[in-house]
């Protein structure tokens, strides 16, 4: 008895569903982001006391941390769909992975960009080989590797499966890379996190940050589904159902 959710696995079935979901996710994303922005700018103090006092520039955290979390989460999603694709040999899972990669790469770049802009006023330099910024940089290389490998191979089938395998190998290596960057000298393994962990951040900061993260999370759903629909259209162009969709939607 094949599990009936496999019937969603056919691109033809998933195309309209994704189409209906995009406006919902887009709307939720916009609302959440606006709330987070308003809360972050107007409901929080201008100065930040506590362990490491910061001036107004700390507000960059409302974008930097969510972007970093999203970049890591989306790599997991990318590797997850790649694994599903390799195991079940379903074309849609590979398309999903391919749709996630660019959005993940954008969030990684944003995390680096905002991290550097936050670093300048607080540490005095745009770039500091701080373990987390460095692992973010390597995560960016993994994304670029996935996208480069996928676009370098013409045969779509091999491109999907080769990039999927690379994503999984990358996923297996991420903890090892993270260890080697965070603890370069195993004799005295520096405290992994100089900065305080999320638990102890002041609630008035934490809540807008979490709202922004949820906003970006539902934004990536919308963006990924939109890109997925484009991929489905271009790859299934020799199927009959694509003809009807095109006839209906072509402006």
């Amino acid at each position: 008895m094949t599990i009936n959710w496999f019937k969603f696995a056919s691109p033809a079935a998933f195309y309209p569903i994704a189409g209906r979901l995009i406006p919902w996710f887009g709307g939720i994303a916009a609302v959440l982001v606006l709330i987070a922005l308003y809360w972050g700018f107007f409901e929080t103090a201008d100065r930040l006391g506590g362990s490491n006092p910061q001036k107004e520039y700390y507000r960059i955290i409302f974008v930097h941390v969510p972007a970093a979390w999203m970049s890591m989460w989306l790599y997991l999603v990318l590797a997850g769909w790649s694994a599903v694709g390799l195991v079940f040999n379903t074309r849609l899972s590979f398309m999903m992975a391919k749709a996630v990669a660019p959005t993940g790469a954008i969030f990684t770049f944003l995390a680096l960009w905002t991290g550097a802009l936050w670093g300048r006023p607080s540490w005095g330099t745009y770039w500091d080989w701080d373990p987390r910024l460095t692992s973010e940089l390597l995560l960016f290389f993994l994304y670029i590797g996935y996208i480069a490998l996928h676009s370098a191979i013409d045969d779509m089938r091999r491109a999907d499966r080769a990039a999927a395998l690379l994503a999984i190998v990358g996923l297996v290596m991420v903890p090892v890379i993270y260890l080697s960057i965070n603890c370069p000298d195993p004799n005295q393994c520096a405290a992994l996190h100089q900065r305080s962990d999320p638990g102890s951040i002041h609630p008035s900061i934490l809540i807008p940050m979490l709202t922004m993260t949820l906003g970006l999370w539902s934004y990536s759903f919308a963006a990924v589904f939109a890109r997925l629909r484009n991929i489905i259209l271009s790859r299934e162009s020799d199927n009959a159902w694509v003809r009807d969709v095109v006839a209906k939607e072509a402006v």
Binding site: N89, D155, M156, R157, R235, E236, S237, D238
Partner: protein, 220 residues
Amino acid sequence: MLDVTDLACRRGDRQLFRSLSFQVPAQTLLHVRGRNGSGKTTLLRALCGLLRPDAGRIRWKGKSIRELAEDYNRDLLYFGHLNGIKADLTGLENLRIARTLDQDPVGDDAILDALARIGLEGFEDLPTRMLSQGQKKRVALTRLILSKAPLWILDEPFTALDVDAVDLLQQLIAEQVADGGSVVLTTHQEVPLTQGAIQRLTLDEADDETPVSGDDPARA
């Protein structure tokens, strides 16, 4: 006995064939025909497990070839467009390695006899890069003489062969089928058999839904 049920393969975004089913019992030669680009090579590569088909099952002796994996490979000899011999090694060295890889190492004299039979007398210890295209193909074909695999899958074996090499190859194929083996073959010429049945499978452009138009096995 090779048994294929509703096989489907795509290349790029083109569906090559769909719901393709046939059997290749012992003592049978399956002659696959079709225009260029109709998916002959893709079909053969799917049959030998190099390519994972989009749908359908391929069974050898009743078990799926994906489960058999290495065991299926032991029973199989695949002959692709490329010769599969190293240019820097001599014919003798190439075949010695081929036999060890197939796990029945054979003495040098057996290899030398095979090379002599295929018409490469005196060329055995020359690096194959110095041989002509036809001679290289003969070195590759020597693997057919030495192989004990019951299933042969040959992709255009007759290209770049001169007349007497073609006769020899036809004789080898006839012997293989007569001894109870099965052969799947793509070629543009006829292969006379002494014993066993010939089946034909024509792969057309994906025009009609059921591309299989296998004639009834012509009793040799």
